[in-house]
Every structure is written in C-alpha cells, then in structure tokens.
Symmetry: D2
Subunit: 280 residues, 4 copies
C-alpha cells in the first residue's frame, strides 16, 4: 500500500532530502541509508540535502555522510541550508559591518562568509555598532540573559533580525524534543511586537533557492524532474507542494505509520507519495 522509495526514485533526476528524520536521527545516520544514497549516485541521480539546520557549515554537514567504500555522498555544494539564505540577506541588506548573533560559534559561519564580523550577543552592548542580529542556533548562549539582552538592544536600534531556521522544536532523543531557534524567535517577536525575517522550509523560497542551485549544476532541469523527500508534513511536504515539485513523505521521523493518514486529513497537506523509509 505504501510506495517503494527505490522504485519511485527511478522517475526523478534530482532528489532533495531533508536530513533529520530522513537520513539520520538522534543516534546518527540511519541503517542502510549510506548504501541507498551511494546506489542512487551511481545510477546518476543528483542528490541534495535541503535542511533548516544552520548550526554548522555545509562542509561540516557533508562529513556526516561518508560511505565507508564510496566516500563522500554530498559534496559541499549539494548541501543547502536555510543559513545560506540568511547569509545572502545579511550580505545584501546589512549596512554596518558587525552582526550580533545567538548560537554556537560554529553557526557564525553564515555571518563570516557574508564578509561580516560575527559578535556573540553577550559581547554586544547598546553602543556596539551592529547592523543586524542573527538567530542561528538554540545552543551556545545563556537563554535568560542573552535573549533579554537582544530584546533590549532591539528596543534601541532599528536593525533587521534574521532567523536562520524557522523550526520551533526539534527532536533530541527517542521521545524528547528541544525548543529550536524559531521558537526563541517567536518569544522575542511577541515581546517586541514585531516580526523578524525567517528563512527555511516550508517557505517556498527555500525551494526556489534550491532549484536555482540544481539548475546551475544541471542546466535545463525542470521542476517535474525533482522529488522532495521529507518526514514532516508542515515543512518538507507543505513547502515542496507550494513550490510545485513532487513530494514523498517518509515515516522514519516526525510522522508515524499509525497516524500519518490522520495527520494528512487534519493538516490538508497531501504528499504525492508515502514511503516507509528511503531504504524500502
């Protein structure tokens, strides 16, 4: 009754994979995934990761997916993070050279590669000449003091705030979740009564950005040549549908076998296909 991912993949030239819940989980890359990816590459498929994770550079993410025999699965330019859209925004729109940020030092990559200087928010004060604040990751800072500090800086300065990951929670263990940086953004927006600039799925712009990348690498590729693979109806599937590419829901992450028909009904977000996993 469920579709076979391997048969489905035959019909597409380009495949976009969400990372968490599709390729890996809290224990690391899931069993069999690297073999499937290596096979697909050998068959000539163009594979991409399309992720809302802005906590590290694409280079570092790439190192997660190395096949013991066949080596690196995703070259750096095949990993598309919402952090890159945030970086483009900072590059185009920030007037001062410094950007304050919330996140681990690794996540500052997306500020630095825009040619800007990244300053942890706890090193900013009201006189620091920052041109924007970037919310990059939920870890690496003191929530109480740094969220309050960021709010008070924003009450004094008219500067943009970018959120490099639109998710509000993410899984951290079998049954546990943690507040993601999108949730922290909600809290700050509510305290300030203003809206920030968010990047990431389900925003269709994340998909048009990925499509541009794929078009640059594979000239002439059409939307109907692309399949989006995701475990979350509200981000992966909603966004892929909105952008007009085919979508497949896999049941290895946020959406369970027992409840997926109910969740589709309730949300009205309808994937073109449903597969148990990418290894089936």
């Amino acid at each position: 009754m469920l579709d076979s991912f391997r048969e489905l993949a035959d019909n597409y030239q380009v495949i976009f994979f969400d990372a968490y819940g599709v390729l890996k989980n809290f224990e690391g890359v899931m069993d069999g995934v690297l073999d499937v990816l290596a096979d697909l590459k050998r068959e000539g498929k163009e594979l991409y990761v399309v992720t809302n994770d802005a906590s590290r550079s694409p280079k570092k993410m790439s190192l997660t997916y190395v096949h013991p025999e066949h080596g690196e699965i995703f070259a750096e330019d095949r990993i598309i993070s919402s952090g890159m859209l945030a970086r483009d925004f900072l590059r185009a729109k920030v007037r001062a050279k410094k950007v304050g940020y919330l996140g681990k030092p690794d996540s500052a990559y997306y500020i630095q590669t825009a040619g800007l200087t990244a300053i942890p928010i706890n090193e900013c004060d009201y006189d620091t000449d920052i041109g924007a604040i970037a919310l990059l990751d939920d870890e690496g800072f003191n929530w109480e003091s740094d969220i309050n500090r960021a709010i008070n800086i924003l009450r004094r300065k008219t500067i943009p705030v970018v959120v490099a990951n639109a998710d509000t929670v993410y899984p951290v263990h079998q049954n546990d979740v943690a507040i993601a940086v999108g949730g922290i953004a909600d809290l700050m927006e509510s305290a300030l009564s203003r809206r920030f600039v968010r990047f990431g799925k389900p925003d269709a712009y994340m998909f048009s950005y990925s499509f541009s990348r794929a078009s640059a690498i594979t000239p002439g590729v059409r939307r109907k040549d692309i399949l989006m693979v995701g475990d979350t109806l509200e981000t992966d599937i909603r966004g892929g549908n909105k952008f007009g590419i085919d979508t497949v829901l896999v049941l290895t992450g946020n959406t369970a076998l027992a409840s997926y028909p109910f969740q589709i009904d309730v949300s009205g977000v309808i994937p073109d296909y449903v597969c148990e996993s990418i290894t089936t």
Copy 2:
C-alpha cells in the same frame, strides 16, 4: 486637562492599585506615594494592591509599603496577587501531592500554602509523581535546560499547567524590559500545541476575586464604589472595564503623557479618567 487623582479618590470608598508603574518603579516606591496612601487611609479609604506579581508572598510585598511614621499601608489581606488564584486552582484541581515549578524559591509560597509540595523542575524527572506544573516567576531556574525539561515532562503526563502571571514582559530599568513568565508560557504552549491555565489581569476573574475580598472586608460594597488605578491599558484598564468598575490611567509607568491619547485610540481601551500620577 488631566484629572486630579486626589479629587477623584474622594468619590470612591475602595481603591485597587496596580503596583509596578503606579506605586513603585525600578528604583523602589516612588516619591510621595507613601504619603498619599497614608492620607487616603486616614480618610477611611479601603486600599488594595491588585498585582500580577507572583514572585513573593503577600506578606513580603506588604513590607515594601511601610510609611516611616504611619507604618504598614497594606495589611497582608489587602494584597491580592494572581498567585492566589493559581493557588486556589492547585488546591481544587491537583490530584497528586507534588507540584513542579519554574521560579525562585520564594514563589513556591503559592504552592506550599495550597498544602502541596513544591519541587523545582530541575529536581523532577519523568517518574516524579507531580500533579501539575506551575509557572511562577521568570527567574530562579536555568531557562534552556528547565524549559526543555518541563516540555518533555508534559509530553508524557496529562497534568494541568498553571501560569501565575499573565504578563509577557516587565520593566527592569529606565529603558529595559525582561521576558516575564507569561512569555515563557507562550513559548511552551507553542512547542506543545496546547494552552495553559493563566491567572492575572486583564482577566476579569482577577477583578471578581478582588471584589469578593473587598466584599468580605467591607460588606455591602458595590462595584461603583471601587476605582482601579493602573499604568497599563491592556491589563489594568481593560480588565477593570470588563469587570465594570471605574478605571483611571496614571502616566508614571508603561503609558507616557505624550502617547496616551494615541494608545487609547489604537487599542480602543478607554479609561474613565487619566491622571499624571497618584501624587497629583
């Protein structure tokens, strides 16, 4: 053009004061306030504090307002905190004897006086037999670890969550604010997709509770004998209006002289009177 608070007060038997922005600010009790309150008491007015502050017991709050000559202004039973409504809820509705909480140890007063055992959330695990979680204060815990811990406990247990203070931000200095426990509640509700039980202004129930207290102390008091004094349109004035008592906006806190007509227009929350301060 503004009303005189002293003349206004003549028309009421009972006066409800918001605390922060009306009687005190970040530096302590405002100049002249204790004298005005002592005068009003001598004239026979019944004075109450009606506050969303659930960080300390009414007894401790009472100690804030001691006139150097005339002594205590507000006896303990004249201080009405949203924490008391939360306490009544816990007393009536909690089945297990233990309640997990977020807040400083002082705020646990509202759990303990309900006859329950208060346990800081960082001492709770998934097996702790707690009957509710109470959000009492924004300080006294590690935001990152304890908010995430509370969320994961609530994903496993069907227990009520009470929020003893509905405010999302509060002033901490001349120009600075901090996220209040109501903001933390918003963040947790969003992560869990459920709504908690909130107490405090502008909820009219906070005013009906205060009215019951005033009726017990002064039998026969009518709503039209009561004046609510507040600095915040969205809580003090909105709630007082909804409960049907007269309201006066003072300009010593959240609402400034320059912008109050604009803020009234925009909000549609219309105080019966506007005074510069309670000392004018």
Copy 3:
C-alpha cells in the same frame, strides 16, 4: 468505566448545564433530558443553564425547556447567558445612548435592557453617535457589507466593542458547523489590529458571574457544592476548572466517546468526571 450522571448529581446542590450538546442538539431537546431535569428539580437540586448563546433573551431560552407534565424547568433567573455580562459592560461603560450591533433583532435584547438604544449596523453611518458596537449573533445581517461597515466606523471612532459570545464555530447539523460571532470578531480584530472585549466561557468571569447569581438565590452556597456539566473541553471544562468548581464532561456533543481520552491528553484540560450523557 464512565461515571453515572445520576449518581454524580447526588453529591451537588447546584448544577450548571451548558445547553447545546448537553441538553439539546440540532434537532431540539434530546430524548429523556426533560425527565432527568424534572427529577433533579424534585430532589431539590438548583439547576442553571450557563450558555454562550446571546441570540435571544433568557425568557425565550426558558421556553425551550418545558416538561409536558411538570412545566417550566428553568425560570428566567436560572438562565445565565454571556449576553448578560455584555449588557453589564454596556450599562457601566458606554457614554453615548446608542449602540450599533451585529445580530438578529432578538439579540438586541441585551442592549435594550441596558437602557440603551440598539441600532443595526447597517443603519449606522460615520456620523451616528454610537457609544459602542456589540457583536451579538452571526445571523441577521449582511456579512460582507456590515462587517466592512463596522470596521470603517471603528477606524474613525474610539469606542469599545463587546463580543457577547466567545465561540468561533457552532454545530448546525449532524456534521455541519457555522462560523459563530466570535469568529467574526477575530476577523475584525485582525483587520483593525486591536482586541475587543469578549464575554463567555471559558472565561472564569462567566463562572464567577454565575456563582454570584447562585449565591443570591441560595445564600451560603460554596464552590464545592456546584457541578458544571459540559460537552466541550475548551470552554465548559477549562472554564469550570479555572474557577475551581467540579466539572463533568458529557459525550453527547462536541466530544465523542472514541476520542475523549485523546482530546484530554492533547489539551491538558482534565474534567473531574466523564459521563456518556446526563440521562445515564
């Protein structure tokens, strides 16, 4: 496993009933209900209807519940509608004598009995000296022209808006719903970027108002003597719990036998009891 309503009722002196989904449905009063109510009255129970319906006067609602032998079940003063709270607000806070309204002519009862003149919004223009707008019912006016008219009046006048029924949808047939006046209020609030004054369950003030009525009729009644009976977790049970009275969920309306444990889990709103119906 479910509780017996008849046995449960023995423990309470006063019973608050929600109307729709508890006593009646789209076909009228449910089978057996009038007999149960008549029995309870004969046993000396004090029975009240506590409803968010502000479309007609308590007198008219009273006529819905007439036992063929024992006559009227609920005297007019035993029917408590959120419209009455809206009326009290209008009486206390409206400065001009005229009030514009959205709703059927019957619903204007709640304006007229406040001593004010009710004017359908389509007879108001920008010069009409109205002191408030009341949203009373979802029927009786042209949605497109009258909602837009009300919004434009409110862009010009700083007057309060009261919503006499906080519900956003209500059932109209076995499987059909309709947008209620609370939903229309949401739409208008969003267009105007301001919040109106809403009355009705789950607001605990609706329960404190009902408790005052019960105390006036039965002096000395305590909260623990009262049982709230409702079919909706988010209004009847949430509000009754917040006010601190015992609550029983019945499965004859919005909440179904198959899904109630799931809905309690998801909402965190926990009734003290669950009964199949009031006739069991």
Copy 4:
C-alpha cells in the same frame, strides 16, 4: 531629505512596481504616473507590475495602464499576479479536474488557465468531485452562506486550499478599507484549525517568481539590477528585502509622510530608499 525617484531609477535596469498605492488609487491611475512610466520605458527600463491582486487576468490589468500617446505600458507578460503562483500550484497538485472557488467570475481565470474547471462554491455540494478550493477574491459571493459552505466541504474532503492573495485588508476609498480574501482565509483557517497555501507578497517566493520572469525576458539580469517600488512596509518592502533586491518606499498609499519613520522603527522593516512618489 527624501530620495528622487527619477534619479534613483537611473541605477536600475528592471523595476518592479506594486500597483495599488504606487501607480493607482481608489480614483484610478494617479496623476503623472503614465508619463513617468512612458519615460522610463523610452529610456530602456524593463517595467513590471508585481501585485497581490488576483481578481482579474493580467490582460485586463494591462488595460489600466494605457498612455494616451504612447499606448500600452505593461504588456501582458510584464504583469505578475499572485494568482499565477496559485495557478501553477493548481496545475501541479490538483488531482480532480474541478476546483471550487470564492471570487468574482473574472478571478476564475486563474483556475481555467490551469486547464481546470472552475465552479463557484455555491454550486458545489458534498458530492461534487472537486480537487481543491481556491480563494481568489473577496467579492462575487455571499459571505455568510458560501464561507460556511466551504468550511463544511473541507470538513469532509482532504483537498488543498489555495489563497491567491495574502492581504487581509485593502483600501477602497480615501479613508475606508475592506476585508480582503486573505482575511477570509484567516477566518476559515481558524474555524478548521488548519493552514492553507497562500501566495503573494511578502512571500519571497513571489519575488523569486518575478525574478525568473525577468530573467527569461532579459537574460543575465542580476538581483542588484532590480528595484522594488512599494507603498507597504509589511508586503512590498519586507518581501523585496528578504529576496535581496533593493527596495524603495513611496508615500502615496498605505504609508504616510508623517508616520513613515515611526513605522520603520516599529516594524524593523527598512527600505533602502524612501521617495514621496514615483513622479518626484
């Protein structure tokens, strides 16, 4: 202090204009606008309309801007409506051939040109085999009966809903506004507890779609060659900024000369330039 639009325009090869509040108002095309547009065209600028109006076809919109001497300003392919993105979605994702819609018959253009059959919602019943519902325009249907009908159809069918215009209100006269179809979408989403698929500014996807069109007509065009001209911070400027093109706010529509610095401060949405109008 304000920038001159004519001088500014010199720096860009491609100009995207919002329509309402920039080129026209409730009285029609604003004085001097057609002359400015004709001049810009003669100078070789590529001009586009980028609008959230999905009430009529681009061809019909094109007829609004005809210079008495120089003829048509915007060829049909220079008019980009959010309705086109909705059309692409319908074409890619709708499985049945029929689509129910809310809007005037003219707006059905966006369904018909997707190769689908458009059926007014009042001609749909629960058995009609529609593959989606499209919200196209706020006029052309009975709000009360047709909104309720659409909601009840969606309670029975798992089909997508597209909203071809994300705006919640729009101006209809000097000082009057009307609820737009995005506001009706909010109301329906709230009643159904699900989210629809919305198209239009400030969604950056609307800008990437427009950029693709411009790239097809003018190969090699870069983002920095494009200027977005709009009167609304929250749609035109927010979206243009997010997509990374330069933005100019004009003061002929939603944003007034007296309040624009305040609105920029409050929103944190910062245009690259501010001009009084496109004729200055």
